[in-house]
């Protein structure tokens, strides 16, 4: 089977009439892990949400292709079925719906009617993945994210990733709120997914996650676009020196979007 590709072309995204993402371009292939780094407010979450189809963001220009199919023409659920996954920075809480019921519905949504996963198989898979993420079994009967701590929510996002096995995952700040042990557990989970059938975009503003998941490429985002790309060593340098040298190099005064910007 040919390797999958996620291709973002000249993407422009607005929220409430102000442009947050401008001329964003990136191509990720199956088997690759890319990291997007950047200070707060540079448009990272906006990019991730827009690709998944968040209702508040307007895409005014550009395309997102998944294996030649135009993602932007799909409904949110169709994007998921096509193989996209977004681990959200702030996952919703849904009262009265157990983690396990939700997860089973999600798995079955991707399958043909009549070909639903058997309960036994589902339970076995969920147990195994929860073990791998060192989650207590009680999580399967708790209501979806309700009353979860920040770290528990992140683990639960990764649990969904492992259960749903998408072609491409975008992980938005999956490391925030995790202590070092949890970070290792979550990283192991992501590393287990590594294969030619899986591509991943990791969004973070700390380098530390990338100590455990070594990226193939690192991109720096400012003012709603990629301003610099490199290999894993770029993340290392950012860790040591911060972002100021990039701003200097490129003549950027304010890296955030929507505020006073340097006109190119």
């Amino acid at each position: 089977m040919a390797v999958s590709t996620l291709k973002i072309e000249n993407l422009h995204v607005e929220i409430d009439g102000s442009e947050i993402i401008k001329d964003f371009n990136l191509e990720i292939k199956g088997g690759e892990i890319h990291a997007i780094m950047g200070p707060n407010g540079t448009g990272k979450s906006t990019l991730a949400s827009a690709i998944m189809g968040h209702p508040r963001y307007d895409i005014t220009k550009g395309n997102v292709w998944l294996d030649g199919e135009n993602v932007l023409e799909m409904d949110v659920d169709e994007r998921a079925k096509a193989g996209l996954f977004l681990a959200m920075q702030y996952p919703s809480e849904i009262s009265g719906v157990t983690n396990s019921d939700f997860m089973r519905s999600a798995i079955n949504a991707k399958r043909e009617e009549g070909n639903e996963i058997s309960l036994m198989k589902f339970i076995r898979k969920m147990d195994a993945k929860m073990d791998a993420l060192e989650m207590d079994q009680s999580f399967s009967q708790r209501y979806l994210n309700e009353g979860f701590s920040g770290g528990e929510k992140k683990r639960n996002e990764i649990l969904q990733l492992l259960m749903l096995e998408p072609k491409f995952a975008i992980l938005d700040e999956i490391d925030s709120g995790l202590d070092i042990d949890a970070l290792k557990v979550v990283s192991n989970g992501v590393n287990d997914m590594r294969s030619p059938d899986f591509g991943c975009l990791i969004i973070t503003h700390y380098q530390r996650l990338l100590n455990y998941i070594t990226p193939d490429k690192v991109h720096v985002m400012m003012q709603g676009r990629i301003v610099k790309s490199g290999g894993a060593e770029l993340a290392q340098r950012l860790e040591e020196e911060g972002y100021d040298w990039i701003k200097e190099e490129l003549g950027i005064e304010n890296e955030k979007v929507g505020e006073k910007e340097q006109e190119a």
């Binding site: 998921a80 969904q160 749903l164």
Partner: protein, 436 residues
């Protein structure tokens, strides 16, 4: 075509009716007082809902008694589906048009001194005990016309009595089926739990006819003695033609507790009152109810917890889903009387609007006459959260499926609390059918 002329229920009728049922003198007297009061009293006035034009007078009061059946298999299909077939201990009374149709009660109950019988039998066989509780501290005949009519025309119900220190493990289940489309149900439920006893009761109201008009006038009285605990589950699902007045009342002594879990799924116009009096120190109540309004149905729900005892705790949760042109008023009232110090009253009322044309009105009310208490409320009326939809759909769930999960989750507080699996499953089906 509502006509006033058909009204034939007078003292003479009531007297005759009572005689035919072989009732004790005191009950006949209660009925006679009630029918006299009914003439003078007015209809209740639920806030923001006008019930003056609702049908409370047009119905058939008596139906043929078609006898009992001996086996579950002989019961109507809709009733069978509410009964667990797991083979566990079964305590069940089924009524058809107010009359007992099937009864299966484990012998252990009798050994424990527990009474679980239809109210007609109770009046004959447990007259003194029934009298002690009937229209007792929790409810008054002269509150308004519907209570008076209720007592005067009472034609169905159940009496539950649990002696001191007795724990009834398996749930006591009742099913009230209205089969005759014109038959009215004046159903009276009494649950008397003596000190330190414990029981779980679960009732279902169902009807077969969809269009013809009739009336359901229901009063429940629940008495939890000192340290007693009563779990009361109810699922109301009368079809559209039936106008319902249902009043479920509780009275709790020291350290006693009542838990209500009400699935209020009627298709017709409904006035519902759920009131608990926390009389004793350390008494508590948890009142949960969920509903779905659809079509052009108008409903009014009041959940009232009245604190007298010190350290009493009252929790109210009401969740409503409104679609089409349905209209519902939800009033939660936590009243803390002077002297009920260290009490706590909390309420949550949430309404999910699925249609622009529906109306949902949530009014949390705290009436507090004591300084040393804690109380709180949360209320919201709104549409399904688009962020929740985005989250679920981003995992591949279709819009319909995502909405389904959110709505079932929203109504789960009551569904999850019902003690009989078959009833839970039927309620889930009803929710499913009503929403889609």
């Amino acid at each position: 075509m509502a006509t006033e002329t058909k009204w034939t229920f007078d003292e003479e009728y009531v007297k005759d009716f009572s005689k035919r049922r072989g009732e004790p003198e005191w009950l006949m007297e209660e009925r006679l007082t009630a029918i006299r009061l009914a003439d003078k009293l007015e209809l209740p006035k639920p806030e923001k809902t006008n019930i003056k034009t609702w049908n409370f007078t047009e119905f058939k009061h008596e139906t043929e008694n078609s006898g009992m059946v001996n086996q579950v298999e002989e019961l109507p299909e809709d009733v069978q589906r509410l009964i667990d077939s797991s083979g566990g201990e079964q305590n069940l009374i089924v009524f058809r048009d107010g009359k007992p149709l099937y009864r299966s009660v484990h012998e252990r109950l009798q050994q424990q001194g527990v009474v679980f019988v239809d109210i007609e039998t109770a009046a004959k066989e447990h007259s003194e005990l029934l009298k002690q509780y009937f229209m007792g501290k929790a409810v008054k005949v002269d509150e308004h016309r519907l209570n008076a009519l209720h007592v005067a025309l009472l034609n169905g119900g159940v009496f539950v009595y649990v002696p001191k220190n007795v724990q009834v493990e398996a749930p006591l289940q009742t099913v009230y089926l209205q089969e005759d489309p014109e038959a009215a149900l004046f159903n009276h439920v009494i649950i008397a739990a003596e000190d330190n006893s414990q029981l779980t009761y679960l009732e279902n109201y169902i009807s077969s006819e969809k269009e013809k008009g009739s009336v359901a006038n229901i009063v429940s009285e629940v008495y939890a003695g000192q340290g007693a605990k009563v779990s009361y589950g109810g699922v109301d699902h009368f079809e559209k033609g039936i106008t319902t007045y249902v009043s479920r009342r509780g009275y709790v002594e020291k350290d006693g507790r009542i838990e209500w879990a009400l699935g209020q799924m009627n298709e017709g116009n409904t006035v519902s009152d759920n009131t608990t009096v926390l009389y004793g120190d350390g008494s508590s109540a948890d009142a949960k109810s969920v509903t779905i309004g659809r079509g052009e149905q108008s409903q009014n729900f009041v959940t009232h917890i009245n604190h007298y005892g010190k350290h009493s705790d009252g929790q109210i949760l009401t969740h409503g889903v409104m679609k089409d042109k349905a209209s519902s008023i939800f009033n939660g009232v936590s009243k803390i009387e002077k002297g009920a110090s260290k009490s706590n009253g909390e309420q949550t009322e949430r309404v999910l609007m699925l249609s622009e044309r529906a109306r949902g009105d949530a009014n949390p009310i705290l009436l507090i006459d004591e300084d040393d208490v804690t109380a709180g409320h949360a209320a919201s009326v709104g549409r399904i959260d688009p962020m929740q939809m985005f989250y679920l759909m981003s995992r591949g769930l279709s819009e319909t499926e995502a909405q389904r999960l959110i709505i079932h989750g929203f109504l789960a507080p009551v569904v999850n609390q019902l003690p009989i699996k078959a009833v839970k499953e039927r309620l889930t089906e009803v929710i499913e059918r009503k929403v889609y």
